[in-house]
Amino acid sequence: MLLQSVLENSARRAPQKIALVCRGERLSYGEIDRKANQVAAFLRSQGIRRGDRVALFLDNSIEAVISLFGILKADAVFLMLSPQLKAPKLAYILENSGARALVSDTAKLRAVSEVIHAARALEAVIIAGDENKIEPGLHRNVVAWSEMERGSGSQAATGNANIDVDLASIIYTSGSTGDPKGVMLTHLNMISAATSIIAYLENVPEDVVINVLPLSFDYGLYQVLMTFKFGGTLVLEKSFVFPYEIVKRMAEEKVTGFPGVPTIFAILLQMKDLKKYDLRSLRYITNTAAALPVTHIRQIRETFPQARLYSMYGLTECKRVSYLPPEELDRRPDSVGRGMPNEEVWLVDDRGNRLGPGATGELVVRGSNVMKGYWGDPEATDRVLRPGPLPGEKVLRTGDLFRMDEEGFLYFVGRRDDMIKTRGERVSPKEVENALYAAAGVAEAAVLPVPDDLLGSAIKAYIVPKEGASLTDRQLLLHCKKMLEEFAIPKYFEFRDTLPKNASGKIDKLSLKAELQRLDRQN
């Protein structure tokens, strides 16, 4: 089964049914399927072949959804890039993936025009939005979305050469070295994960899911894939920046499913008169990316008494790992539950020995949802994909430490590496430090997480200025803004004359961490 079948099957079964509600437009399954066929025909006409990578760099939009299916229908691999990406990282990903086509939007033209000439593999560029804003010199082969739609591309389906072990997507995620890594996912990986999640959420075609998460985040992307698979309706929003609009839309569209992250729920719970809106249709709420504070769990349940609340845990490398059945929430509010259907999980010690219940160790995941590896990085792949129980099989070492109780429920303990989870995103301290070192006047930089009610963790940067250099928060913020996505920009800066060093002369982060913990306890 290929991933595009989630759209094609629903378009066959219920062509008139509304699949997508976005910025005032309502599109049926039939319409989206035909438009995706047209994108596929266009890409093929531009020389895009089986296995080619096609990058998507645009906000949550109808075009993003249509394109991702169009790319799959062309037997190509889609890369849903964060709309917040800054030019250096965008350039890196286009180069690293060897993307052969790019779909973007006029709102992103500035970043696109900065990197496009260095991306030598690009054969075609499609730009959505106001076509008058596109400069003809942007690329030798640039076409406006509207022009492509008016063109002669066929809206009929064509056959596929791909099979389900071919790649469907590469999702770029923060890597511990500072450069992003491309997680390679096959059609089978993604269909498997979507099927398991739908099974435990008990989704039905009557479900209306609202998505405020970026589609570049797998949690957001899967809302599209899952909703199309079970034949429901997706209300796609660009963000949660204006929470009142979202709540109003939830009432208007009688939304039944609301996926969020702790930051979103914290904002929602701050709204003064949420009770004014009729949200009784809400059947379930899901949380992942970071644990919800127990007080927020209680408040969410008081505010939405009829909704089932799922605490979940996962990572891009296998999409989802576990979920806590809502009826267990009272007994174990701090657990992320057990492995999802059609997946096996266990804990191992440092030597890879399997541990029994009650122990703490690294979580290992086995299942058809586990990725094929990191694009172009066999060493990094070998570190996380290890031999499994069957000959030739690979299982995923998550790098996350958990405790497992006697009944098999998991409790998050920490990361084996020093990745920071903030605003639901995984941030590599190394990437932030690299950006800071690139600023004039910075001699040393160390980045650590500090607890934050709204963000999960906030990022704190310790800076030692070069001799004679005078640095301010503001200068560094401006510099970071050019290099990093919004969520990766430090919230706090502290300037010091020196930083503690360990025996090998490296900055001693453990001692900085201990210092932060002492401060936290004092408060």
Partner: protein, 94 residues
Amino acid sequence: MRDQIRNFILENFILEKPEDLVDDESLLEKGIMDSTGVLELVAFLESTYEIKVEDEELIPENLDSIRNIVNYLERKLALISKPQTAQPSAVSQA
């Protein structure tokens, strides 16, 4: 008032170039303001102009560009100066 708001945004939301801040362009589209930014902006408006921003006023029509913010504030402050006839819903475009 316009300059006060402009300065707040320039000081708190960090732009590469001040000339990128155009009065009638969407702060969201340009990536200048995010969800925590909106909360900071609201806190600033409430403390500086002694108003209360209602939940239903948290909409782009009121807050997503400098022009919208100024228009919103003017309507809001006009209501405060003659409270006997004011209806808070007059500010909400919902």
